[in-house]
């Protein structure tokens, strides 16, 4: 029997949402200050509207402080699912008011794409966009990639953290408490921010010849999008704008760092580094990256579009790393990417679908699930082939020796299948609107796996239904379904419960 939520449940949810909104309001002061310093009066007004709305909603939520009820598992999941709907909704206000979006839905699409670190964009005339608005787009990547709820957890100690933490698709607690884990995640991000900004800024000025301020502007934007595996870029031609192998290399390092789990960062910082390569997830991602890169190289070589091995390797490597890490940067135009067929298309599409590591800023099915699924299948085959009395090891190494239980294998396979269903949903809708199968599949995988590479289907003129479906894919894909199902369950219980 479904139990209808009571007023106390709503108070708990509103209170925790309020805490998160207050944090986002504070984050919104950054682009506000940028607009003020840059005398960008129109964007300034729109940022004030957004900050005001976040703060009002946050403070109203805090007024609903629950009497004694604690945040349980379902509350936490509902809070996370709503956070990832409402933050882009309010966060889209400055975008909608900028005049660079065809409609409110387009602005919402952009904000959803930003916060889920997808990187698909509906911005029109990006090359004349106000820097403060451009900064906000990229800051959304940073907030979403690190986890908005993680931000709230790192600032507010208190109960309920664990359910919010898991709700935001974080699978492992690195340190004993969730608050210290959240703070560690932000420390990792801060260190990378300082180092990444310094390197990109220096290359921008010394190698690319940009003015200092512009070099660091580009560096900051590219850092946010690379480390948080987002994919927005400050200019319309993505990473192809820079025409520099060394800039691509620096960006690739950041993309790779973003695709690694924070647990692995912890192991590399403090733990025995040898253990890093013993992890099932590390081995899986190295294997799948090598496989998809080989597919792309062979596919491109067969078409003969690149005349030299270094050129072919550089372009294939960057595109596949961008796809596998879930970033979505591109050094070739989308019209050209659309012509990559056969194995090259397969390599990129598979890389996008597989994604990065669990508990990283990347999207996609995730390497841990792929590794567990492959191990479970291998074990089944061994059971069939080996003599009945033979003992098949059902353990795996992931920050320590662990047992691969049937429940764990089923869970990994179930989520993987849900991703496949999500890919097919977007593909089907795009085909219904006349997109070719290959393009429809590519774009849907890109949205659901939060990648952002595009072959041109994502466009301000695309049908409204397709925009909504892609937004749903980005949202559900980022939260890895659990929180989304919890929200649906909560709504159903509210409507039909007793």
């Amino acid at each position: 029997m479904l139990i209808r939520p009571v007023a106390e449940d709503f108070r708990i949810i509103a209170y925790y949402l309020g805490r998160i909104f207050v944090i986002v309001a504070a984050a919104g002061l950054l682009p506000t200050a940028w607009a003020l310093l840059g005398r960008e009066w129109h964007p300034l007004g729109s940022f004030l509207v957004m900050v005001g709305l976040f703060a009002i909603l946050g403070l109203l939520g805090l007024l609903a402080k629950p009497e004694e009820g604690r945040l349980d598992w379902s509350h936490g999941m509902v809070v996370v699912a709503l956070t990832w709907l409402l933050v882009p909704a309010v966060g889209s206000v400055p975008l909608a008011l900028s005049g660079h979006y065809g409609s409110v839905v387009d602005a919402l699409f952009e904000a959803m794409s930003g916060i889920t670190t997808s990187g698909l964009s509906l911005t029109q005339d990006l090359d004349h966009l106000a820097p403060s608005v451009n900064f906000w787009r990229h800051l959304l990547h940073f907030l979403g990639g690190q986890g908005i709820v993680i931000a709230a957890l790192s600032l507010f100690a208190g109960g309920g953290g664990i359910t919010l933490y898991y709700g935001e698709a974080r699978d492992e607690r690195i340190l004993p408490s969730v608050t210290s884990t959240a703070r560690f995640i932000w420390t990792v991000a801060s260190v990378h921010l300082v180092a990444g900004l310094a390197v990109l800024g220096l290359i921008g000025h010394q190698v690319l010849g940009f003015q200092w301020t512009r070099a660091f502007f580009h560096g900051l934007m590219v850092f946010f999008a690379a480390f948080d595996t987002g994919g927005f870029s400050p200019q319309s031609t993505s990473l192809g704008y820079y025409h520099s192998a060394i800039y691509e290399l620096a960006t690739a390092v950041l993309m790779l760092a973003g695709a690694l789990s924070f647990g692995l960062h912890f192991a590399m910082w403090r733990g025995p580094r040898r253990a890093v390569f013993a992890n099932l997830e590390t081995r899986t991602i190295l294997g799948t990256f090598g496989f998809t890169l080989a597919l792309a190289i062979v596919g491109l070589a067969a078409t003969g579009v690149y005349r030299t091995v270094p050129g072919l390797t550089r372009q294939a490597f960057f595109q596949v790393l961008s796809a596998h890490s879930g970033t979505g940067f591109s050094t070739v135009p989308s019209v050209e990417l659309a012509t990559w067929s056969g194995l090259a298309f397969g390599g990129i599409a598979i890389a996008m679908a597989l994604g990065g590591m669990a508990s990283s800023t990347a999207g996609g099915v995730k390497s841990l699930r792929i590794g567990l699924t492959l191990k479970a299948i291998t074990n089944q085959i061994k059971h069939v082939l080996l003599p009945e009395r033979a003992v098949v090891s059902n353990t795996y190494y992931q920050s320590g020796r662990k047992k691969l239980t049937p429940e764990l294998a089923q869970s990994a396979m179930a989520v993987s299948l849900l991703y496949v269903a999500l890919f097919l949903l977007g593909t089907g809708v795009a085909i219904a609107y006349g997109a070719p199968l290959q393009s429809a599949l590519f774009e849907s995988v890109s949205a659901a796996a939060n990648v952002g590479l595009s072959v041109g289907v994502t466009d301000p003129t695309m049908p409204m239904a397709l925009k909504l479906v892609y937004m749903l894919e980005m949202w559900a894909g980022r939260l890895e379904f659990v929180a989304v199902f919890a929200l649906f369950g909560f709504v159903i219980a509210w409507v039909r419960g007793k």
């Binding site: 007024l63 090359d127 200019q235 025409h243 072919l312 466009d459």
Partner: protein, 180 residues
């Protein structure tokens, strides 16, 4: 001496011949056409017309890299009351630094970059540059100089924002007072 002059003239004529022949093949193309079938234009001399946007990257090899957009915003940016017409359409261009001297600043926020006509060789997947594609510019004509754009500010938004922040501040003060 006469023989030397005749020889030099002959060399100049021989060197000039391919340039003249290429000039006859020149055609004005749009960036969309160029990107849609980049291979078809590989190595050809093409002319593009559009706005220079982003940055002027003067590199140590005495070249300058920038981006040329030939979308509708090249003439009417959104910030200058232009109409929405989809995403930008642009391509990377490289030119001798000397050619870029004296150019108005590139286009960006509240800035319309110079509208130029660039003629050069379309380097498609250039093997010498790791497979990059770009226009190697040989000549540049400024069609329209760049200029500052006065943004049309919607003055209703700023007061609305101030009111929203004011309301939030009042709410925060009320909450603090209630907590005491």
């Amino acid at each position: 001496m006469m023989l030397l002059r005749a020889g030099a003239l002959a060399i100049v004529m021989i060197l000039a011949q391919p340039v003249a022949a290429t000039a006859q093949d020149e055609s004005v193309v749009s960036v969309s056409e160029l990107l849609a079938d980049g291979r078809a234009f590989a190595g050809a001399t093409v002319t593009l017309e559009g706005e220079l946007v982003g940055d002027y990257g003067f590199r140590r090899d005495a070249t300058m890299w920038t981006q040329l957009n030939d979308d509708p915003y090249a003439r009417n940016p959104l910030v200058d009351s232009g109409r929405r017409a989809g995403a930008n359409v642009g391509v990377g261009v490289r030119m001798p630094a000397s050619l870029a001297e004296g150019l108005d600043p590139p286009g960006g926020y509240r800035r319309k970059g110079p509208l130029v006509q660039l003629t050069g060789t379309w380097r498609f997947h250039d093997p010498d540059r790791g497979g990059e594609s770009y226009l190697e510019v040989r000549s540049l004509i400024v069609v329209e100089p760049g200029r500052h754009i006065d943004e049309s500010v919607n003055w209703a938004v700023l007061p609305t924002g101030l009111v929203a922040v004011g309301l939030a501040a009042a709410l925060w003060l009320l909450r603090r007072r209630a907590e005491r």
